[in-house]
């Protein structure tokens, strides 16, 4: 299959991202509104957890995003490392703060859910601990990026760190099976439950809509950040001079 390399050129990518961003932002807002409405008004309270189960609709999507963004970040870092593609390096760099904020959100909402349900804000449980390590990996990645002035060298060093850290992703995912955790096991992704998730459709739908909304949000913000980053890195080119003088 031929690959369209046209958009691998920073200039074309900058233009394409600029066209896409408003549409993606609009789609994000619509899905987020629908997801929030369903999560807060349509979804039923849980028979055991009552209304506190509504925390799930922000906690689970943010936890999924924390891992999803990390895999994208490490994958983009690897592509930059192997094929020297600048756009991949930029994607890895801009993904880190977004992924870190989703990780923090997963941890804080988990804490706010754990307190009324488990009676503790925090436990050194395998799931919680591996998610905390994920936050430290993001922080390490960003610190390394900030510590090296040359963006190409910073990209290479931090890509290696991200790749080593990928080992933590399956640990997070399977932690609820490998260890006897306080955290509840997976309700949706377990292989044995494909097609018949252990969650009612009235709760599954708002959860999935919120998850898609969060994904779109990530793509939107990542593209916004990538555009600024591209301008910075391509500042000595004629097309950036044109962009700057227009308006």
């Amino acid at each position: 299959m031929p690959i369209n390399y046209k958009y691998a050129a920073p200039k074309n990518f900058y233009a394409l991202a600029g066209t896409l961003t408003p549409w993606l932002a609009a789609a994000t807002v619509l899905l987020l509104a629908a997801g929030l409405y369903m999560a807060l008004f349509v979804a039923p309270p849980d028979y055991q957890q009552g209304e506190s189960v509504r925390i799930m609709y922000v906690h689970v999507p943010s936890a999924w995003m924390s891992m999803f963004v990390y895999v994208i970040m490490a994958g983009a870092g690897a592509i930059g490392l192997v094929w020297n593609i600048k756009l991949a390096e930029v994607l890895a760099a801009v993904s880190a703060p977004i992924g870190a904020s989703f990780t923090l959100l997963a941890l804080v909402t988990g804490s706010l859910w754990g307190k009324p349900m488990w009676g503790a804000w925090w436990a050194w449980d395998a799931r919680l601990t591996s998610e905390l390590i994920l936050l430290f990996l993001y922080i390490g990645f960003m610190a390394l990026q900030a510590a090296i002035d040359d963006p190409r060298r910073a990209a290479r060093a931090s890509a290696l760190l991200a790749l080593v850290g990928v080992v933590n992703i399956p640990v997070i995912h399977f932690s609820v099976q490998w260890w006897n955790t306080l955290h509840q096991p997976a309700s949706i992704s377990s292989i044995a439950k494909v097609g018949t998730p252990a969650i009612d459709p009235s709760m599954l739908w708002p959860l999935l809509i919120m998850a898609v909304a969060f994904k779109l949000y990530y793509v939107t913000v990542a593209l916004m950040r990538m555009r600024a980053e591209i301008l910075e890195r391509e500042r000595n080119t004629a097309w950036v001079a044109e962009v700057l003088s227009a308006r």
Binding site: G50, T109, W113
Partner: protein, 57 residues
């Protein structure tokens, strides 16, 4: 629908609204940071270009 009951969240108001509030904060902060970054890059590169032009004259 009873709004008082809705905001009460069956006694879990602090935890539920706390979670949604922090989620909103994170979502807004990321967009704000992205916009600020763009503004700063634009300003700096324009200043740089202007300084270069002045230097060439």
């Amino acid at each position: 629908m009873n709004w008082t009951e809705f905001f009460h969240m069956g006694g879990y108001a602090v935890y539920v609204w706390g979670s949604y509030g922090i989620a909103a904060l994170v979502l807004v902060a990321n967009v704000w940071a992205a916009l600020r970054r763009r503004r700063r890059v634009m300003t700096r590169l324009r200043d740089y270009a202007r300084a270069n032009e002045a230097g060439n004259e």
